[in-house]
Amino acid sequence: MNGRIYASVLGLLSSKPPVVRVVPLSGRYIPKANDVVIGTVTDVQGTFWLLDIGAPRWAPLHMTGTPWKIDFGETGQYLGVKDSVVVAVESIENTGRIGVTMNGDGLGKLEGGTIVTLSPAKIPRLIGRGGSMIQTITRMTGTKVAVGQNGRVWVDGPEEGIRRARECLRIIEEEGQRSGLTARIQEYLDSTEDPDPRGGARPARPRLDSDGSARPEFDGPPGPHPLTRLPETVPEPEPDGPPDEPPPTEY
């Protein structure tokens, strides 16, 4: 307008000529294809569920998009209202309809644990460069963490670990725009060091059954040892690689 450019949303200006973009500081989650998100069932229909993924619209999850063999009308036996699932965004139609699927590695129903909601804008900070931040948190607190690009973070593990991981999430949410965040988290974790460190006590990797009949990675730790993994954020899990890296975060 008048040879000038105006922003329509509140955000930070990032100008790398010839591109000018505004990085939004707030707002609802705007889904992108291939995002892995955590959704909560809000409605059960004959052939599909409606998921609240924090986006402007509810996302329909059709029964063909699940690993289960379901007959018409049986959807309610698999997922009920308030159940939480990890799904991937398949498509965004121009009507605003969001297509999601539960077929894929690391996707499935979440059992146990707790879900914390952050602002979606903070997720890149939570993950850190190459997953460094999230690795630090899971390692130091002995928890399993699943990060959805929509700002929802699922945490499971020993009670004390969950409490500490949640505190880390709170710090990220409140101080995520500042520099020195990694140091701040490290400082917090060090100050509340687990009296019984479990270094190296990583249990066997969870099985990623392709038939999906039992997605065991969400069934809670089999033994006393927590899983220090976050398989949910990986597009394709490497056999024994380091704790998974999140999808690339272009910020």
Binding site: M1, Y6, S8, V9, L10, L25, S26, R28, T95, G180
Partner: protein, 253 residues
């Protein structure tokens, strides 16, 4: 509002030409805007403007309730302006009355004209405006609060909407009426401005004003809005300001 049956009209200007609260005719009441005080809403703002206290919360874009209001090609804007029972001298009957329904409608329409609604088809942007303490000019305070809350919610808009009322009091035009001036003045003209384009998207008038005065009143109001606009932008900047490293925690939240 216009208290026609009042017998005695109090003195509304001092001998020095200043108003009952010591302001010049074109002076605003002190205005303080806080962006983002609420956590559960997608966006929020609290406005203290003279003796007005108004809280606004924004949700959305989200699923439309009730469904039949949904529009296939754009988002709808729903607004609820409400005055708390304790917001006025005598307890107000709680709930929406005719006045607040009307205000809700005009505010929703004002925001519809600045929000890029086509970006979110079949959704609703819900704006809740709660007047906690009223002292004339609450719809303008409501618009200001709602518009900061919308920006806080990350909703794409053409611009923020500053709003102010101009009135005619004792034959003189004054900016930003207070309660006394509102009750005993001759006219009240609230307006909301799109600063980038100079367009007015909300204008109502009560009372009588000469045509020449109307022009002057609009100029006065637009000038007032521009001052408010700066405060709105400053409030949003404060909300998202990056505190220096090592500063005490949790400033914004």
């Amino acid at each position: 509002m216009g208290n026609v049956g009042a017998k005695e009209i109090p003195e509304l200007f001092g001998p020095d030409g200043l108003r009952t609260d010591g302001r010049r005719p074109d002076e605003l009441r002190p205005l303080k805007i806080t962006a983002g005080p609420l956590h559960q809403a997608d966006g929020s703002a609290f406005v203290e403007w003279g003796f007005n206290k108004v809280m606004a919360a924004v949700y959305g874009p989200r699923e439309v309730h009730p469904r039949h209001l949904q529009e296939n090609h754009k988002a709808i804007v729903q607004c609820r302006y409400n005055m708390a029972a304790f917001s006025v001298d005598e307890r107000k009957r709680p709930g929406l009355d005719r006045r607040s329904q009307e205000i809700s409608k005009v505010i929703a329409e004002a925001f519809e004209s600045v929000i890029f609604a086509e970006e979110y088809p079949r959704t609703s942007v819900d704006v809740y405006i709660e007047v906690l303490q009223a002292n004339a000019g609450t719809r303008c305070a409501g618009v200001v609060a709602a518009s900061v809350a919308l920006a806080d919610a990350g909703i794409p808009m053409v611009d923020l909407l500053p709003a102010v009322a101009v009135g005619k009091v004792g034959g003189k035009l004054v900016l930003d009426l207070n309660k006394l001036e509102d009750n005993f003045g001759e006219a009240d003209l609230p307006m909301a401005l799109v600063p980038q384009s100079g367009r007015l998207v909300l204008m109502q008038m009560e009372g009588h004003m000469h045509r020449d005065e109307l022009g002057q009143a609009l100029d006065m109001g637009v000038a007032g809005c521009r001052g408010i606009y700066e405060k709105m932008k400053a409030a949003l900047r404060d909300r998202y300001a990056v505190a220096p490293v090592g500063a005490s925690t949790g400033a914004a939240q």
